[in-house]
Structures are given as C-alpha cells and as structure tokens.
C-alpha cells in the first residue's frame, strides 16, 4: 500500500511509461526514473527496515551517498534504488532488517 507521501509530476517525458513491480504491486513509472524516484512518485515513502533496530526508512540523498534506499531488485539484495533505472517488469522488494547469508543466490 502506498503510504501517503505525495509527489506530483510537473511534466511527463514523451518516452512513455514503464511498469515495475514493488512488493507484488504494479507501479507505473516514467521512462528515465530511478527506482527510488518511481517509488516516491507512487507514494511509497518506506523502502526498507534497518538491520539494527528494524525501523522504517526511505530514500534520503537520491545521489548514491547514503545507502538508505537499499532494495532488492530483480533478486539481487542491497542495491541502491536511487542508482538503478526503471525497466519494464523490474521486480523490486523492500529490504527487511539484516540480510541473512545464503548460498547460490542470483548475485553472480
């Protein structure tokens, strides 16, 4: 569920829209958006919970400095949502708390 954060589009790119999937829900983004921008535009303020205290966080710097917008993108954990462009069908999930170690993931 989007949680009431409100950004509006001033104008739209002629390039058209892209649909990504966030926590199983379709999110319409503009071509050229980063994943973090697309989620903020769709009203999702919270994009992860922290590893230490499990508290909610959202994008903060939008320029790759703070690592607060870490997301699981197409099965790969801990990616900076503000540094990844949206592409059609991208699967995005929140990072919940600390990541557990597992073997044989799609990282490589």
């Amino acid at each position: 569920m989007p949680n009431g954060l409100s950004f509006n589009r001033l104008s739209e790119r002629p390039g058209g829209t892209v649909t990504i999937c966030f926590e199983g829900q379709p999110v319409t983004a503009q071509d050229g958006d980063t994943v973090a921008a697309a989620l903020l535009a769709a009203g999702y303020a919270v994009t992860r919970t922290t590893p230490v205290h499990g508290v909610p966080r959202g994008p903060f710097c939008m320029m790759g400095v703070c690592f607060d917008c870490l997301l699981e993108i197409d099965g790969r954990a801990n990616r900076q949502g503000c540094m990844v462009r949206v592409t059609e069908g991208l699967q995005v999930r929140r990072m919940a708390g600390a990541r557990s170690a597992s073997i044989g993931e799609a990282d490589a």
Binding site: L5, S6, R9, V65, C66
Partner: protein, 471 residues
C-alpha cells in the same frame, strides 16, 4: 593487459566535463567515468532531457551546463556512464564496476572530479522516512520532474535551500514553511567579507533575487530555528521547533534539509593523501598544488571535491588540471600551459571572491554540527551522538577508535554521511579542534562490490605472472 589511456576523469560534473574537453582539445585520449546515465553531475543533472516547464522552473543557471555537455562531443573523449569507480591506486589504476562486471584502466594522469555531497544535518527524527536532503528534492525535480505536494517544509541554511524554495514556487508548489537555522550572529560576522564578495556581485544579486521572491510569496519563514524535531511513526508527520522564543509544530509529510555542501573525499582519503581541516566551512580539503595536483604525481583534484567553489570554479579547476596534464604528456609546452592558464586563473579568482562571505554567512549552527545525545548520527549503524560521547569518555581519541567501539562509520555508506559529524562530536567532547581528532581511514573498495563482480576482473597476463614467479 589492462586498457591504457592518457587521462581518466572520474566524475562528469562541471569539473570533469571541462577537464575532459580541455584535454581532448589538446589531443589527449580521455576516458570520462560517471555513475549516472548521462553527464552533467548533480548540478546539470537531467539536462540531456529538458522541456519548457522544467527549464522555467529550474531557472536561468541550469541550461548554462549545455556548453559543457556539448564540449564532450569530441573524438578524443570516451564516456563511460553508469560506471562505479571502487578503487584508485597510487599506480594510477582505476577499478570500475559496470553492468555487474569489474574492469581496470591504467592512466598516465587522473583527474578526480567527484564533487560535493550535502553536509549531514542530524537532529532527533531526521532518519524518518519522508525526511530527505534538499538536494534529493532537486534531483527528483531535475531527473523526474517531481514536485512535492503542498505543505512540504524546508529546513536549514544556505543558498540551495532558497534556490529549491524558489524553484518550487515557480512550479506552483505551496511550500509549507522555511525553517531557517542560520544563527543570527552570522550576518554580522559575514559583513567583514562583504567588500570581497562585491567583486563577484552576480552571486549576491542572484541570492537577493531569490530571497525577495520568497518574501513576496508569503511562505511562512521562521528564522533562528532551534530544537528541530521530525515527529511521526513510520514516516514524518510533523516538524516541531522553536523560533523567536516560541514552540511551534507544523504538519508535513516531506521535510527537506540542507546545511551546505562539503567535498566528497572518499577517493582522496582512500589514497592516503593529506587533508587539511578548513575551520570556516568546517570540512576537510585534500592538499593540492596550484594546478590541483596531489602529492601523488599525476593525480589531480578538480571541483568541489577539493573544496566548495561552485560550478564555475569547478570548471576552471578542471581546465587547469587538464592543461597541466597536457603539458606533462608533451601535448603543449610549459609556456603554452602557463599562457593558457592565465585567463583560467582570472576567472577562478573572480568566482572564488564570494566564498568567504557565503561560508561565514551560512556557517551551520552548532546544534546541527554537534547534535544532542539522543540524535542518531550514523544512519547506517544507528549510533547516537551520546554513544560516541560515551566512547570518548572511555578513552577514544578519534573516529577510528569510536568505530571499533560502536560501529559508527562501518555501515554501507562507509562513513560518507556521518564522518564530519563524528569528528565534530569527538572534538566537542574532547574540547579540541576536529583537525586534532582526524577522520575515518577510508579503504577500498569505496563502493560495495559483490564477489561475483570481483571475479570478472581480468587477470594479469599469464606470462607476466610467470615472469613475476621467476623474478
């Protein structure tokens, strides 16, 4: 064998773009690396795609970056977008991660043009979702044409705060309030530097214009704001503060913070270079020559990464570094280098004239440099200022010790965001200058890289390995 090139420029903002163009014009082979999909840096971000609305909202300075972007269309420049540099060595090897694969380039000369980042502005609640840097607001505007709903609150101090407020007003956003944390005494101290600043009065005129427009808009503007708090549950719902002796609270779902920008020193620090503490803008500057060259021969710093000067200064510094590199590689003579540098230095002096005034006027309030005990200062590891003060009481003298005690600076951002605050808090607790306390020891990889990516790195030539074995 790894790829070799004359010049690697890291960062495609004003400094990097100007350096690349200047070097390529003098027949150097240039590789320009940037994390973003298009050149421009943060200031000219999204300039590759603009429309009328965006240009009107962003104001007259934004399209000025076009000239720098156009300068990149030269056969000698190869651009490497969406590429992350995770290590630079003293031997001038640059390690890159791109599309999930690692690579290395060896350069005769390197210009580090990694720019600035916003100074952290910690206070209770600043970690809540919906609280963001003002720069993030601007990035959303430039990159995705996103503007906040009405009632967004802007808090802090410095020119970018006014610029963003002005841009939002142009876009028709009803800004909820501007909460100015600049100490009132700054203005008096800054007046000493006013005559110098008047030499570059275009900056002052621009600032006054922004302030007038904000005043005309009747956006509530609170001055001397202290005791700032972001309140809410999962995300920010209101902001509480004191101003003029009264307590206030305003509803907001978006709170944008700014208290100046500081050099991004991750690469210069990771190279083990000397950095000097600048007491006025309260940040570290890598030590460089008049050409921007560091103590490592052939590695230069240009632009805000060497000290905040703004886009014009950055471009001139990029040109100086490129000229010196070109001269060293034999593309131009010493005399040509000197004569071509002369007009560049003149521009540089003009644009730097305003800095002392601005740095003094917008020097951050102590409260947000050295926050209260309950405030989280390391966002990654969720360490409070109080914990760091406790580690000092236990005997820690500097940030590398507090890091070992309680992990501040050990999370994924590698201390980028908390570095200055941790040094300030330790210095405050010890009653010394941050110069004495020092900074984090930054080690490569300076951006996280997976083992999978690392494994794609081309191995050194087998014959070379054999030769080393024999040697």
């Amino acid at each position: 064998m790894p790829e070799r090139t004359d010049l690697v420029v890291i960062g495609a903002g004003p400094a990097g773009m100007a350096a690349a163009a200047c070097a390529a014009q003098r027949d150097l082979r240039v590789l320009l690396i940037d994390e973003q999909p298009a050149a421009g840096g943060q200031i000219y971000r999204g300039l590759d795609y603009t429309d009328r609305v965006k240009l009107e909202v962003l104001g007259p300075d934004y399209p000025r970056g076009r000239e720098l972007l156009d300068g990149l269309a030269q056969p000698g420049i190869r651009c490497l977008p969406e590429s992350t540099v995770w290590q630079v060595t003293r031997e001038r090897e640059v390690f890159i991660s791109r599309n999930g694969e690692a690579d290395v380039v060896v350069a005769d000369r390197i210009v580090l043009a990694t720019g600035a980042m916003e100074r952290a502005m910690p206070f209770p609640g600043w970690t809540r979702a919906g609280v963001m840097n003002a720069g993030a607001g601007q990035i959303l505007l430039k990159g995705s044409a996103l503007i906040p709903d009405d009632n967004a609150v802007l808090a802090g101090s410095g020119p970018l705060l006014y610029l963003l407020a002005w841009q939002y007003l142009q876009a028709g956003v009803k800004v909820g309030a501007i909460l100015e944390t600049t100490p009132r005494s700054n203005l008096i101290q800054a007046m000493v530097h006013l005559p110098g600043a008047l030499r570059a009065n275009a900056y002052l005129r621009k600032g006054i214009g922004l302030l007038r427009a904000i005043r005309r808009s009747r956006v509530p503007h609170f001055r001397g704001v202290t005791a700032l708090r972001a309140l809410g549950s999962a995300q920010v719902e209101s902001v509480a503060f004191e101003s003029g002796g009264n307590a206030h609270a305003l509803p907001c779902s978006i709170l944008l913070l700014h208290q100046g920008v500081v050099p991004n020193v991750q690469i210069t620090r990771s190279l083990g270079l000397e950095h000097d503490w600048a007491p006025l803008p309260r940040c570290w500057h890598p030590r460089v020559s008049a050409w921007g060259e560091t103590a490592i021969e052939g590695i230069y710093v240009a632009g805000d990464g060497g000290g905040i000067g703004g886009a014009e200064v950055a471009a001139q510094q990029g040109r100086l570094a490129a000229l010196h590199a070109a001269q060293h590689l034999g593309a131009i003579s010493v005399q040509e280098c000197e004569s071509q540098a002369r007009p560049v230095r003149r521009h540089l002096a003009y644009h730097l004239a305003v800095r002392s005034f601005l740095d003094t006027l917008y020097s951050p309030a102590r409260e947000y440099l050295c926050p209260s005990n309950e405030t989280i200062i390391c966002r990654c590891e969720e360490v409070t200022a109080g914990s760091v003060r406790e580690y000092v009481r236990l005997g820690c003298l500097g940030p590398n010790q507090t890091k070992a005690f309680g992990r501040p600076g050990m999370g994924p951002c590698q201390g980028r965001l908390c570095g200055l605050t941790v040094s300030e808090v330790i210095a405050g607790a010890r009653g010394v200058s941050p110069a004495e306390v020092g900074y984090y020891r930054v080690r490569p990889p300076i951006k996280p890289i997976t083992l999978g990516e690392l494994a794609t790195l081309p191995l050194p030539d087998e014959q070379q390995l054999e030769a080393q074995d024999i040697g």
